[in-house]
Symmetry: C2
Subunit: 161 residues, 2 copies
Amino acid sequence: MRLTTKGRYAVTAMLDLALHPEQGPVSLSDISQRQGISLSYLEQLFSKLRRDALVKSVRGPGGGYQLGRPIDDIYVAQIMDAVNEVIDATGCKNKADCKNGVTCLTHYLWCDLSDQIHGFLSKISLGDLMRQNDAHNKVNKVTEPKVDDQLFMLQTNEMAG
Amino acid sequence: MRLTTKGRYAVTAMLDLALHPEQGPVSLSDISQRQGISLSYLEQLFSKLRRDALVKSVRGPGGGYQLGRPIDDIYVAQIMDAVNEVIDATGCKNKADCKNGVTCLTHYLWCDLSDQIHGFLSKISLGDLMRQNDAHNKVNKVTEPKVDDQLFMLQTNEMAG
DNA sequence: AGAATACCCGACTAAAATAATCAAGTAAAT
DNA sequence: ATTTACTTGATTATTTTAGTCGGGTATTCT
């Protein structure tokens, strides 16, 4: 899991789609103008988003892109994973001499953390983000992410597995 | 907030320090060997970590680095922030013609998400990570880090939802 | 049918960040 | 005094990001 500017562009573009629900498909040139992202770069990103079925494309005049699923079935982690290459976080996966030394303990701890972040972003949908903004405008307080619960949940999940 | 390989190196190095509590300072060359990070790159990272008082340095023979605070007072977000430059996530912060249109709504939603991630990582300390690993080992009796399981878990996470 | 729109795709280039290297210091311990 | 190891700055190489280019294909509209 990586949180890069590339992923930010992707999430931004997906949010742009989510904010234009049923006026037909949204063209990349529209997104390009509104969000200030180059058209060709958007094409690269949407190629990957489409590969993961996060968006559907409609060709021809009046065509463009639409979300591939309802906003509550699209999670931030999925968007990030679609556009970012998965990396080997340990750097020692294939080493024969990797025998639970200090090195691998740190790697393991890092993987733990990485899983926590991934699990966290796997629970935030586009719909969550948009509703949170609504709530924020009304009450100025948010109920969505339960951070402490997340921490404990991960522990129990791993123990079970 | 960015979650990059650079930040991963920093967290890894800090974990390495945390795992060597009171045998005196830990030299960067030790960390370099154990974690497979080049010495000079570690120097760059620790320059920033020191600037933020996350580590203390001891010069001379037998010198090295120690954590600047107890493990429960050092949070992952602080480490990330120390080594990563803060970026302007909106790209329109200073524009006078930015009047809360669709563009800025997406930017605002992104900032919201970014705050959530930051808040999440601001609650995970080095101590949390280490204790969680202890609990995991006790329950599963795992003595060797199971990298393949980690990867598998990540994949199923990606597929889920 | 033909023109216009907009997705699709691969290769290429430019810019930026990451990672590593080199060189020349300073502080402290033996 | 010598060695160790931090400290700093400059430089370079590599990778990633971002953008560009030039072609395509599917679709709609006239």
